[in-house]
């Protein structure tokens, strides 16, 4: 630790009060990012305190990382410098909620579960059905832009985030957008915050459009022996008049993991699980008549496309299945000492190429899982038995193969979670990008002195 970083906690205390600063090594260790621990944890309870912390960091040339509950701090590259963890969980209230207008303004540090409970009282939701749902904050969910399994029907965060307030690197509290459902006043800066991983500022408040809770839910699970049949099924559903709320494709191993997740609760493998088969889980929501129609048509399509089997979920099973599908990334990220998960962004046309990914891992005898999440990202998870130099070497080879394979098919890939040593040999954000120069311009505008999350993002940002 250099002298500037020495006694950070002691120097920060007069700025926001001793009660809001924690310099204990135990607390700092909890906020470590890729084995780099901060020198202090700052716990603001208001945007004004966040402003003071950022100004202090700027003047002292220290580096900050805004944190929620820390569930996704593993995403991104190791920090180039990290002095203060900015624990945003002290900003945790619903600032404004107009159920009659279906709009909401919430502090970034509020947990998603608390928010969901408050909205459920009005029979509404913010459609962020994301991994780590039980633990994560609203701000962390937006800053990481981790995929929501409700995306096909509600869109991704950029479709229902109406505005934001945040403290930028200049140490001022600024806003973008508003709290109305339609608004083109000024630049859409809040869209830049989505997925920015804390590199542009500390999000203090987020404004969302809310939606009515559906009357009911359902799933049809079809099992298929080949991806070719799944491609046909996917195309048939896509061209139909149905608009499913989710469409998850699971390879046999991923399906087994989902089945086990349910097993934890019900002590029995669900009847739909068929070893060795690919599983497709199509979710839908609405009134009873709608659920019936979806079930009946989806089963017909599955049969026409050569499904080996199909299963209709009943109401109680469906809740568990939805949770398991939502949490699959979470489950696999903890599945071993060297668990590595790629996020691959492609269009449905990529599906026929999916099995080739397993081939990349099989060459190194590393077990792999493939699942696509609701027409959004495809996840490719690797689960080596050990963490050693040989494993890291194999993972690096596979990463380079995945990046190349996906780029050749007009997609983009990044590594969502992996062991820290891999990050010393592979850039988790994938190959260099043509728009990196533009991204650096955005970073410089928001954070001219590089106070926030140094070195963690795309293009060394």
């Amino acid at each position: 630790m250099n002298t500037t970083a020495t006694n950070v906690a002691a120097r920060l205390q007069p700025v926001i009060g001793a009660a809001h600063v924690d310099g204990s090594s135990e607390s700092c260790a909890k906020f470590a990012v890729d084995d780099v621990a901060p020198s202090a944890v700052a716990r603001p309870t208001s945007p004004a305190e966040v402003v003071e912390i950022v100004r202090f960091s700027k003047s002292e040339k220290l580096a900050l990382i805004p944190c929620g509950n820390g569930t996704k701090l593993g995403i991104g590259m190791p920090p180039a410098r990290y002095d203060i963890a900015l624990d945003m969980t002290g900003l945790n209230q619903i600032a404004y909620y107009d159920p009659g207008d279906l709009t909401l303004s919430v502090d970034a540090g509020m947990s998603l579960t608390q928010l969901a409970e408050a909205l459920a009282q009005q029979k509404q939701l913010v459609p962020l059905a994301v991994p780590f749902f039980e633990e994560c904050t609203v701000g962390g969910t937006i800053a990481s832009n981790i995929g929501s399994s409700l995306r096909p029907v509600y869109g991704s965060a950029r479709d229902f985030l109406l505005g934001a307030e945040f403290v930028n690197g200049a140490g001022t509290c600024t806003k973008s957008g508003g709290r109305v459902v339609k608004n083109v006043t000024g630049y859409d800066l809040h869209k830049l915050l989505i997925g920015s991983l804390g590199t542009l500022g500390a999000i203090t408040r987020l404004n969302f459009r809310t939606f009515p809770l559906p009357e009911g839910y359902g799933h049809v699970v079809g099992t298929f022996s080949s991806v070719v049949s799944i491609v046909r099924f996917q195309a048939m559903v896509s061209k139909s008049l149905l608009a499913p709320s989710s469409f998850d494709i699971l390879d046999p191993e991923a399906a087994r993991t989902v089945a086990k997740f349910k097993d934890n609760r019900d002590s029995a493998l669900p009847s739909w699980f068929t070893p060795g088969e690919w599983h497709v889980c199509v979710g839908f929501e609405g009134a009873e008549t709608i659920l019936r129609r979806y079930s009946s048509e989806l089963v017909q399509y599955a049969q026409k496309c050569g499904a080996s089997n199909y299963h209709l979920q009943d109401e109680s099973d469906d809740k568990a299945l939805r949770s398991a599908l939502r949490e699959l990334v979470n489950l696999l990220s903890w599945s071993g000492p060297a668990a590595t998960i790629f996020q691959i962004n492609t269009l449905p046309g990529f599906t026929p190429d999916v099995p080739a990914l397993s081939g990349l891992a099989a060459r190194f005898l590393i077990p792999s899982y493939i699942f696509s999440n609701s027409s959004g990202p495809l996840y490719f998870a690797l689960q080596p038995d050990d963490l050693n130099d040989k494993t890291i070497g194999s993972l690096a080879h596979i990463a380079s193969g995945v990046f190349e394979y996906v780029a050749a098919r007009n997609g983009s890939a990044s590594i969502l979670f992996c062991p820290t040593p891999l990050k010393h040999v592979v850039n988790t954000w994938g190959p260099a990008r043509n728009d990196a120069v533009l991204m650096r311009r955005v970073k410089n505008a928001f954070d001219p002195e590089n106070v926030f999350a140094q070195g963690r993002f795309v293009a060394g940002i």
Binding site: L102, K182, G186, L200, D435
Partner: protein, 487 residues
């Protein structure tokens, strides 16, 4: 007096020759009589360019940008000129790039529901090109039969059906851009989930102040199985506006929910003969889309709400022709109003849906106070008000009062939790009202973003940012716009 910019000097002959060398003499306009058309758009503002150029390729756009940079001349992009906030006007003169001849649909990818288009493609033409496959492009501004997708992207345009499907930004996944120094770059991706910052999200709606858009990848939606269009007729305006608030509160989500007040619909009916009842105080045009079962349930729910708020009658369009006629009445309403007053000023405030009744009462009071007839025809479902102030621009006093009355209404929208513009953009119409919503710190950050891409204000100067509020320092050119702008 209408906003007329007179502080521009003509373009140097060398610039005109340079433009002619790039695109050919037949695609450059520079004589004053040829430029007249391009000093207008759909707003009440004016601003004449020094030259108009019609490129056909991205390379030509890039070359024009480089030429303009060499000569320190501003550049303004323009689609069909249907915008309502002066976004496509040359406030400080310069070169206007009109994208009318970059109007090809480059690719349609039915499997992945994407299309790649040049900026000059007319919005409706894209839907026509894909409707045979059961797809359509969702943003549908009233001007959809003439406005261009490039213009939609610049202004982040909306339309009636954005209530259910979102505005332009929700349907754009990638862009090709030309920066002020002529550099060509691409942002976003065909799938729409690129790694890194959402640059496409930043550029959509930036009103041509950061870059020029030369190619757009859009998402296409699948047409719904069932569409029902309802006309709910009310004997008082409050009943109609309370119905809208209640439909929202009950979380019924129509594809569109439009309101026309009685005075406006009579003007429209006289012209379009859409079947609007002449003796009503207001009507709601509500469209419900989805699976047949879903739509049937929603129709029943909407009819119930209308009944509770004393709708005199709820008619359901019996067939496509009847439905199209109702929409024709809605979409051509602004044109119809042109028949009864020399000019009209269409506002674009947006408010929380729960506050529509009180906002409409306020607008009526403002009309009485300023002695104007103010019509209301608007996207009620998403709280996007379009009060229309009818006035005679030849009477300077009337124009000034119309502007004052309009500013009062927009201020009120902000006071009750709304915003300055829902879909028309800020442009040179509302830039001086921006401080109602944004602080100096907000402007400072927006200025830094502006300068990150357009440091010399070479692109569309004098737009979005207030010019008389210290933001004039944004660039010397914007200062020039302050001097040029009328008081």
């Amino acid at each position: 007096m209408l906003a007329e910019n007179t502080a521009r000097k003509p373009l140097h002959r060398e610039v005109i020759r340079g433009l002619q060398n790039i695109v050919g003499a037949s695609r450059v306009l520079h004589r004053p009589e040829d430029l007249l058309l391009y000093e207008y758009d759909g707003s009440v503002e004016k601003g004449r360019p020094g030259a108009v150029v019609f490129p056909t390729t991205t390379q030509e756009v890039s070359q024009v940008m480089r030429l303009a940079a060499q000569h320190d001349v501003p550049v303004i992009g323009r689609g069909a000129g249907t915008g309502l906030s002066g976004g496509a006007l040359a406030r400080t003169g310069g070169i206007m790039i009109v994208f009318a001849r970059m109007n090809r649909i480059l690719e349609i990818d039915l499997e992945n529901q994407r299309a790649v288009v040049q900026p000059g493609v007319v919005n409706y033409e894209l839907t026509r090109a894909v409707e045979g496959a059961g797809l359509y492009f969702a943003p549908d501004p009233s001007s959809w039969k003439s406005c261009t997708i490039g213009g939609n992207v610049s202004e982040n345009a909306g339309g009636p059906h954005t209530l259910a499907y979102g505005v332009t930004t929700n349907h754009v996944s990638a862009l090709e851009l030309v920066l002020p120094d002529g550099e060509i770059c691409r942002v976003g991706s065909r799938h729409g989930d690129s790694v890194g910052y959402d640059l496409a999200g930043l550029f959509v709606g930036s009103e041509g102040t950061l870059a020029l858009v030369t190619e757009i990848t859009v998402k296409l939606l699948r047409k719904a199985e069932s569409v029902k269009t309802l006309l709910a007729i009310f004997d008082d305006v409050d009943g109609a506006s309370e119905t809208v608030a209640e439909i929202t509160a009950r979380a019924i989500t129509p594809a569109a929910c439009e309101m026309l007040d009685g005075w406006t619909l009579r003007a429209v009916e006289d012209f379009i003969h859409a079947g609007f009842p002449l003796d009503s105080a207001a009507v709601l045009l509500i469209e419900l889309e989805g699976l047949a079962e879903e739509v049937a349930a929603q129709v029943a729910a909407v009819e119930e709400v209308c009944g509770e708020h004393h709708a005199r009658e709820v008619r359901v369009a019996r067939h496509d022709a009847e439905r199209e006629l109702l929409w024709k009445g809605r979409k051509n309403a602004f044109g119809a109003l042109g028949r009864i007053a020399p000019s009209n000023y269409v506002l674009d405030g947006v408010i929380p849906r729960s506050k529509i009744p009180q906002a409409l009462r306020y607008i009526q009071q403002i009309g009485e106070r300023y002695n104007f007839k103010i019509g209301n025809i608007f996207h009620a479902g998403d709280g996007n008000l379009h009060p229309i102030v009818l006035f005679d621009p030849r009477d300077a006093g009337q124009y000034q009062r119309a502007i004052e009355a309009s500013a009062q209404i927009i201020r009120y929208c902000v006071e009750i939790g709304g915003a300055l513009t829902g879909e028309h953009g800020v442009g040179m119409e509302k830039n001086e009202l921006m401080p109602l919503l944004f602080s100096d710190d907000d402007f400072e950050l927006m200025r830094r973003i502006h300068d990150a891409f357009n440091p010399q204000s070479a692109l569309n100067p004098g737009k979005i940012f207030p010019l008389n509020k210290g933001c004039g320092e944004i660039t010397p050119r914007a200062q020039a716009a302050v001097r040029a702008a009328p008081l």
